[in-house]
Assembly symmetry: C2
DNA sequence: TGTTAAGCGGAGATATCCTCCGCATATACC
DNA sequence: GGTATATGCGGAGGATATCTCCGCTTAACA
């Protein structure tokens, strides 16, 4: 149980390069809507063997999660920036709209998320932590400013938006998602008991 | 192109029985969380051959849709009843809560819905029609009574609720979904522009 | 430059979906 | 009842996908 960290050899350059390639190829495929592309195909496009893919990502879910983890981080990092630029409620609104944009651009790859039957919970629980703390901060600020009711569960707002993305195929989708943002914010205000 | 309906032989009793069995077994499995149970296994539990399963339901999606189509209808049928019993906005609220209850009891099998990678849109578009017209009616009444803003896309409310269910695993989930119902309704009121 | 651990890659074991088609039987008609 | 036949049954097996295993290669370190 000794938690010693061995002075391990630096990771091989080709290993890192292959990992990057795989992530890029996978992201391109998912973004293009090829959600259930075979893993062999991803490996082929990335110019590596299937074994390499599986060493880096033990299963499909792990790959998917890794693919958009980076995007999730970018999205989360936007929260403090917006908070500094806008008053609390508007920062929240802006960030929620950004969230919609990400989904619209498939940068958050909602369909891929959906594809994880059963595993969704686990995956989202891990990856979603960063998003959760991001919106927690925004909501907390808005509550502190007295504009938003205190008994809001911030994550629910995200979940609601993500839900709209799930069953969204039609062209006017993005508009209605943005409208939902306004509804959610209006419904969260203290005035609207 | 003659649209003649042939006087077909009455369907065989064993055929109908097998179909029922399959649906019951599948519903039980899905409700129990075995979302990606192999179809062979469903056939086995139902005491029929795999071929029989595939004749009744050409693919996995068809089975899933058939399984909870009945529940969807029940849920949709509750809308006019509630509308008769409550004032418009309260009827809407009550129905949305009922929707949450169905999801909570897995009667609407949200995870199974999610499991349909790519096909979600199509499936929901077909099965969801009944739900859509149900909530359309409720919202229309609430708009007519002047209590709810007219530029609400009713389906979005459903989508938002369904979204909460997607990433819902925790114990307190149902409570927060119900709270979201209130937020959505509050945000849809005309006063809260 | 030699040693060695880390990484590579693809054959193939396993699992799942779905098709096909000969056999069985419930229905309809006599 | 008895017979004809459409309808349904069922599982072997083809197609495809996931994931494992292990001998070979190569980058990192001295």
């Amino acid at each position: 149980m000794t938690d010693e960290k061995k002075p391990r050899r630096r990771p091989r350059s080709d290993g890192q390069r292959n990992r990057e390639n795989l992530l890029n190829v996978a992201k391109a495929a998912f973004t293009a809507g090829e959600v259930d592309i075979p893993l062999d195909e991803i490996a082929r496009r990335a110019g590596v063997g299937i074994g390499t893919l599986y060493r880096h990502f033990p299963n499909r879910d792990a790959l998917i999660e890794a693919v958009y983890r980076a995007e999730l981080d970018r999205l989360a990092n936007a929260a403090p920036v917006l908070a500094a630029q806008h008053p609390p409620v508007e920062a929240l609104r802006a960030w929620m709209r950004l969230f919609v944009d990400y989904i619209a651009a498939k940068l958050v790859i909602a369909p891929a998320l959906n594809g994880l039957a059963g595993g969704t919970g686990t995956l989202y629980a891990q990856s979603g932590t960063v998003l959760q703390s991001a919106i927690d901060g925004l909501v907390a600020a808005a509550v502190a400013s007295g504009e938003i009711s205190a008994d809001i569960e911030p994550v629910d707002l995200l979940r609601a938006l993500a839900g709209v993305s799930n069953y969204a195929a039609g062209p006017g989708w993005e508009t209605s998602a943005k409208r939902l943002v306004d509804i959610l914010i209006a419904g969260s205000r203290v005035s609207a008991s």
